[in-house]
């Protein structure tokens, strides 16, 4: 792709749930400090791809992975301390999950676990993360509120703040903007462009234009296969596959 070192690499990865194949023969490399967009219709295997990186896929009882997934050249399936791996990767799921602890605790949990106990440092960090996810102004006076009591959109931004709280090197966003209003979404998008300097971002999105706005590279998935991958501009203006063209122009199905 470029001269940049690749942060995450998929080498001939096939993932199946029982007999059903979720991802077929995927090979791709995601360069460091970029936003990598993944677009495609439902059931294309996008979420499965994300879950395979931090190995939360292992909780699907019959999921099976063939091939290699490398993070900084290390095969994730060989990593012994899977919890340490997960701490390096921030995950945001499509549906908001405010965990049943206070707003503050939602964000402070991971850093505290990483050994930060200084109250002031934690306060700063929580404030910083909540500001990045555009939630600070709405919750700064009620940080002790239970995370599950926030509105859907607020919980989603709390989820983003939580994902940022352990300073991950990879941030996976799975259709993060479903529950968030357009104005806030735009603000968060600006933050993501800033965050790119600190981490690699994988952005799964249903909003084709969102990928176009943010992503440096974009991959188009359809029916468990990766149809095309390349620089975002190329995917959107001059794709090689007819299917890609149809999808990005909205002439699909």
């Amino acid at each position: 792709m470029t001269t940049q070192t690749s942060h995450i690499e998929f080498q001939d990865v096939t993932i199946s749930y029982g007999k059903e194949i979720a991802l077929r023969d995927i090979s791709l490399a995601i360069p460091e400090h970029t936003i990598f967009g993944i677009i495609g219709p439902a059931n294309a295997g996008k979420t499965t791809l994300l879950k395979s990186i931090n190995r939360t896929l292992e909780f699907e009882p019959n999921a099976k992975t063939v091939g290699k997934i490398l993070v900084h050249g290390t095969d994730v399936s060989h990593i012994k301390n899977v919890y340490a791996l997960r701490r390096r990767i921030g995950m945001v799921f499509p549906l908001p999950v405010g965990l049943p602890m206070s707003v503050y605790e939602n964000v402070a949990y991971a850093p505290r676990r990483a050994g930060i106990h200084d109250r002031q440092e934690l306060d700063e960090l929580v404030k910083h993360c909540l500001k990045q996810s555009m939630l600070w102004d709405e919750v700064k006076d009620r940080l002790t509120l239970l995370g599950t009591k926030l509105s859907g959109g607020q919980q989603q931004r709390l989820t983003i703040a939580r994902a940022l709280s352990h300073k991950p090197e990879i941030l996976c966003l799975d259709e993060f903007s479903i529950a968030i209003d357009p104005v806030t979404t735009m603000k968060i998008e600006d933050v993501l462009l800033e965050l790119k300097k600190e981490m690699t971002i994988i952005l799964v999105t249903n909003l084709v234009q969102q990928a176009r706005r943010l992503a440096d590279h974009t991959a188009f998935f359809n029916k468990s296969e990766m149809i095309e991958v390349g620089p975002t501009e190329k995917i959107f203006s001059n794709p090689e596959q007819q299917l890609t063209h149809d999808y990005v122009t909205g002439d699909f199905g």
């Binding site: 879950k51 931090n54 939360t56 909780f59 009882p61 919890y83 340490a84 997960r86 701490r87 990767i89 921030g90 995950m91 799921f93 549906l95 999950v97 965990l99 049943p100 602890m101 206070s102 949990y109 991971a110 676990r113 990483a114 002790t144 509120l145 239970l146 599950t148 009591k149 989820t159 939580r162 994902a163 352990h166």
Partner: protein, 331 residues
Amino acid sequence: MLLLLLLDRNTTKGNLSFRRSFQQLQDRLEPVVVGVIYICGWSAILFVIAIFVFVFKESLPAITGIGTEIAAGEIEVEQLDLVEFTTSPRWIPESSKKPAFGILALIVGTLSVTFFSILLAVPLGLGAAVYVSEFAGNKTREILKILIELLAAIPSVVWGFIGIVIMNPLITNLSGEAVGLNILNAGIVLALMSVPIIVSVSEDALRAVPDSFREAGLAMGANRWEMIYKVLFPAAKNGLLAAVLLGIGRGIGETMAVLMCTGHSVNMPTSLFDPVRTLTATIAAELGEAVRGDLHYHTLFLIGVVLFAFAFIINLTADLVVKGVRDQSNV
């Protein structure tokens, strides 16, 4: 309900006028259905109230006094001494010289057996629920759930039998006590009886926590146990509390097994190896013998009222605890 389903199917098929008339019929039936549902709801309340009234009415003469005509024109009034009733550990209802109706020993008996059994059953039950819902594979889970439900179906008299025939000699052999029917025996048996309830209710509560919570907790870098402790337990809090309280309720209400395993002797216990008698067992053992209408008979009903009070206090505490937890997180 079946009728409505049938009507529903017809509406999708029939021609327009047919459909319209069926819809009208359905609309007209609506109040009937709603009425039936109302009756179902209120009948539950009605039964509770009816039982309440009956037990209270039967216990009332013990407090107000029972008059018996001993000779022509001479009426002797027997009345329960409420202070004695609540503070005396002496329960000798059948004494011909001087009967005593103190239930303190019975209350202590009930509470000590229940407390000890809960001490055993809660960790065991919650642990089992966590294992079944979070760690066991699909097949193991199904098998375990069936077995646990089977455990819940064992009649209490069988548990009492186990207490007498198996636990009793075990305890006498291990501890050197003369008799093995005591708080320890009844507590263990009662714990085993309440474990299935605690497991199945709390397992349901844990299962009801959406998987996204688990994934989010683990994605945060928490390990398995931290996720269960920090995420699942708070999320399933109300269900877990309900499970524990159902266990306590079972303990207080259980009759036959404790009648058989406690030793059934009126006694203020000082150790786990002391035999005791419980409120429920007393009613079960004596109501059939008591002369209908005399002081003993009505006092047994008053014990029933005390049991009611216990149930009420447990439920109220549960409500307050749940609410308290909720308010605290809302500051």
